[in-house]
C-alpha cells in the first residue's frame, strides 16, 4: 500500500485515502481536432516499466488532485506536486535524474 505526500495538505497519506486518477499531463483535444489527436488524448496511455507521472486525488482528505512521479517497478517516489502545471517542476525532474540517469517519458528525457 503506497504512501504519497499530498502537496496541498503536506501530510503523508496512505493509499486508502487516495484515489488513483490515471496518467498525468494529458493535453486535451476538443471539437475540431483530428481523429488521431483525439484518440491519443482519450485512449492512448503510457504503460512504462519505470518512471511514470500519475494523477492522484486526496479523495478522503482535502479533495485536491495532485501529480506523483514514481517508478512502477520499485515503487520509489521521486516527488509529488500540484496539478496546476503542464509539466513536472524542475526539482522533480532533477530528483529523477539523480537516481535514474537517462530516463525518459513521452517527449521528456534526462
Amino acid at each position: 500500500m503506497l504512501t504519497l505526500k499530498c502537496p496541498c495538505c503536506g501530510v503523508m497519506t496512505d493509499e486508502t485515502e487516495l484515489h488513483a486518477e490515471g496518467e498525468a499531463h494529458l493535453k486535451r483535444f476538443g471539437p475540431g481536432s483530428s481523429d488521431e489527436d483525439f484518440t491519443g488524448y482519450l485512449f492512448q496511455r503510457e504503460n512504462p516499466k519505470g518512471i511514470h507521472f500519475e494523477r492522484w486525488r486526496h479523495a478522503y482528505g482535502c479533495g485536491k488532485y495532485f501529480h506523483a512521479a514514481r517508478c512502477t517497478v520499485t515503487l520509489e517516489v521521486f516527488g509529488t506536486y500540484p496539478a496546476q502545471t503542464l509539466e513536472p517542476p524542475q526539482e522533480i525532474k532533477d530528483a529523477i535524474s539523480a537516481k535514474r540517469p537517462g530516463w525518459s517519458w513521452r517527449e521528456m528525457s534526462n
Partner: protein, 981 residues
Amino acid sequence: MSHRLPQGGRLIDRRKPRTFRFNNRAMRGMKGDTLASALLASDQMLVGRSFKYHRPRGIVASGAEEPNALVNLGTGDRFEPNQRATTTELFDGLVAKSQNHFPSLDFDIGVVNDALSKFLSAGFYYKMFIHPRPFWKHVYEPFIRQSAGLGKAPDAEARDVDTYEHMYAHVDVLVVGGGVAGLQEARAAGEAGKEVLLIEQTAHWGGRAPVDGGSVGGGPVDKWVDETVAALAEMPNVRMRLRMMGAGVYDHSYALGYERVSDHQPGNDAPRHRLWRIRATEIVTATGAIERPLSFAGNDIPGVMLASAVRDYVVNYGVTPGRRVAIATNNDDAYRTALALADAGVGVPVIVDARSEGGPLAEAARDRGIRVEFGMGVGRLLGGKRVTGVGICRMDSDGSALHEIACDAVAMSGGWSPVVHLWSHCGGKLNWNETRAHFAPDPARAPTGADGQAFVRAAGAASGALTLPEILDGAEDWEEAPLSPVWQMPAQAEKALQGKSWLDFQNDVKVSDVRLAAREGYESVEHTKRYTTLGMATDQGKLSNINGLAVLADALHKDIPAVGTTTFRPPYTPISMGAIAGEARGALFQPIRRTPMHDWHDAHGADWEPVGAWRRPYAFVQNGEDVHDAVMREVTNTRQNLGLLDASTLGKLIVKGPDAGRFLDMMYTNMMSTLKPGRCRYGLMCSENGFLIDDGVVARIDDETFLCHTTTGGADRIHGHMEDWLQCEWWDWKVWVVNATEQFAQVGVVGPNARKVLEKLGGMEVSADALPFMAWADGEIGGFRARVYRISFSGELSYEIAVDAGQGQAFWDALMEAGEEFGVMPYGTEALHIMRAEKGFIMIGDETDGTVIPQDLGLNWAISKKKEDYLGKRAQERDHMTDPDRWQLVGLETLDGSVLPDGAYAVEAGWNDNDQRRVQGRVTSTYHSPTLGRGIAMGLVRHGPDRMGEVLDFPVPGGTTVRAKIVDPVFYDREGEKQNV
C-alpha cells in the same frame, strides 16, 4: 507409543489439568499444552487422513509449519475447519475432530485411493477425466468433491459469534519474531530511542533457543531470554505482543499483523482476533528457520516427525512420540534431539546419518552409548498406521538391501531453511547457500520503499545465521560439522521407493510426482507447482518447497538456484476471515446515509431500498397490502390527489464564481450560461468519451451562482468530476464548487392538489403566474424558510421544496397535517419510477449504461448547437456515435398488456457467430402502469423512432415469447397539460 514423561516440560503446569474432546473421546492435557502435545500425551498420533490417498497421517511438526494435524475445531457458531493442532493452545472444553475421513479416522474407505496411487499421479485430473465429456459434470466431479478436500465447511446457518477488530500502528521498527534474534534487535532499537513493536506468533518469548540450548556470557540462554524480555518490558517506547504473527509485508513498508487475542480462552470479552495494520520505517524479519523433512519411503507414516519437533515435545511439554525413537539425519543438529531424548530416558535405537562423519555433537551421542550409523540412510519405513521399525541401507544404494531396526517413532532432519516469506513478500531476493543447502535473504537485494532504500532486514536464523554464536555476542554452543544435502534417501532410491517418498504431506505430492512432471516437460518451478499441487495446500509448502524444487532441479539436471523458488505470498499462515472483516459486518458493514425524515419513514411502513449509501423508501406499505399494492396506490393517489416524496437525497452542488456559467457550459450539453436567475433548466452531463453520466435540474440563483441537482447516487462522483476539470484543466477559471446535498431537506409536493396544500400553509406566492413551470423562488411556506422549485419528474403539478435540513421533519409533518383534507400520501422510489416512465423521462442507470449517448435517447433538444465545445462533444462526432444504426429510445407496449422482463432482448431473424439469436433492441425500463392499467416499457431499438407500430419479439425465460409494439415513449399526458397548470 507416544506418552507423557514422568517429568519435564518447561511450558506445562502439571498441577493444572485440562480436559478436551477429540473425535468424541474425552482426553486430558495440561495447562500450557498445545492440542498437538496433549494428543501425543494421550497416544493419539494418528490425527487425520491425507488429501488424495487418504493415508493415515500423524503429527509431524510443533509449530506453524505443521502439514498434517489439521482439525475441525469447535462447534456450532464457533466451528472452524483446518486448524493446526500444533498452534492451538489447549483450554478446558476444547472440541476437535479429525478431517477427511469416511467413515472413521481408524477405518477410512478412501484409502483404496492409496492402492490405486499408480493411477492418481500428478496431473491425473487432466489425463483421466477428459472423456467422455458429459462424465465430468455428472460422475467425475461429484466423486472428486466427495473424496478430496480437508476440513468441513461450517454449517450454512452458522454465524460467527466472536468479535474482531482492526488496529493501526505507526512505528520506527517492527520486529517480527520473538526469538533471540528478535529480542536482541528490539532491545538495540529500543535503547536507541526508537518506537518499537515486537511481535511473536507463539505464546512464548525466546523461540527455539531455550530448547536448543547454548549459553550467553557464561549463563544459559533461557536466562538471557528472561533478562532481555524484562529489560524490554521496562522500555516505554517498546511494545511487545505475543500470539501475533507477521502475516505480510507490503509496499512502502506496510505490514499486517494477525493477533490471536483469545483463541486460547474463547468466550471472554476480548475480540477473538485483531488485524494490525502497521506502517514501519524499518521491518526486521527475525522469523527463524524451519527444519526440512527427509524424503525416504514411508516418511509420512504416523510416528515420523521432524527432529526439532520431537525435541520441542520432550523439552517443552514433557511428551515423547515413542519409547524407541530412531533418528535419521544429514546434519549435526538432529543429535541435539538424541541427547534430549536420552536425557529424558527415552530409547534411541539408532542414529542414521547420511554423512561419512559428524562433529562434536555426534561424538557426544556416541559417548552416551547411542548407536550411530554413518553413510547410511533410511531405505523404507515399516508400519501402517504407526511406525514399527526402520529399514536402513547404505546411503549410496538403491535401497533394496535393508537392515531392520525396531522403533515406534522416527525423528528426521534434512537441514534448516530460513523463513524468508516476509522478506520475499515485497520483492526481497534470495541467495542459495551451498554449504547449508538453503535459500537465504540477499541483503544487497532487499525490498525497497518510497525513498528507494531497503526497508526490510533479516536477522538471526531467518538471515541464514543458524547457530547461536552467529546471532548473539558472547554466546557459546556446540561446534557443528557441515551437513550433506540429501534430497532423496537413499541416493539411488528405486522407483517404487520414490513413489512412497512424500514431499508435500498435505497435498499428497511425492518425489515420483515431481520427477514425472519434469519428464512431461514442466521445467518451470511455477508450472510444476501447479501441475503437481506441490506447496499449494494451506501450509503453502513450508516443509516441502525446498525439497521439491531440489528434486525438480535434479530431474532437470540443473542447479537448484537456476530452478529457483515459487513466489512467496501473504499471509504467512492462513488468517481468519473475521480478522480481515474486523468490525465491518452487519450494521457496521457500511455507514448508511439517512435523510432528516428517515425515522418518520421507518415508522410509517417504509420498504427500504439502498440507493448509493442512502436508504430510500421503495414504498410506504400500509396494513393489509403488499409492496406492489402500495406502489400502485401511491401512483394513483399522486396522480389524483397529492403525494409527498422525500427528495433530500438528490445531489445539490452549488457552483459559484465569475466563470460559473462558462464552466457549466462545458459540464453540460445544454447552454447554461444563458439561463436567467430565477429559472431552472434540465441538463445532461457527458463524459469526455461522449457517454451520458448524469442529469438533473440546474437553477440559476444569481449571476454568479448556480445550483446543480445531480442524481442521488451521482452527487459525490459529479462533484469530483467538476473538481477534476476545475483543478486540472481550467485552473485559471474563477469557480468554486460546494456539495450542499446534506444541507437541505427537499420534499416533492406532487399532484393536482399540490398548490392547494401550499396555499393552505400560507406564505410565499406559488400561483402559476408568480411561480410558473421551471421557475424557482425563495420565500417562506407555513413559517419555514424555503426554496421552491416548480419542476416535475412525474408529469403532475409539482413543487420541489428545499428547507434547512434541521427543519425537514417539521416541514414534512406540516405538509402531512395540512394535506390530510387533500388526500396526501407519501410515495416511494418505485412510484417515482413508474410516473417518470409513464412520462417517458429517462433514468440514469436504466436508460443509460455507460455506452449510451444523449442522441440515442431522443434528447437532441437538450444538446446545444451553438456551443463550440462541451465535455463529450468531440467524442459524439465520431463515426460510431453518428452511426444511424445505433439503437434509439422508444416506448414498448405489450400486445397482451403484460409486463416485459427488464433487460429482455428483441430478436430478429438469423444467428450470430456465437450461435446466438441476432438482436435488434432491448428493454431498459419496464413497469406495470396503474394509470394505464397495463405494462409499459422503454427500450433501445435499432431505427426505433422510424418504426412506430412495428411489433417485436422478446423471448423470455420459460421458452415463450412476449410480443410488443413500438410506440412513443411518452405514455401519459403527451402535451404536458397536467404539469403546466
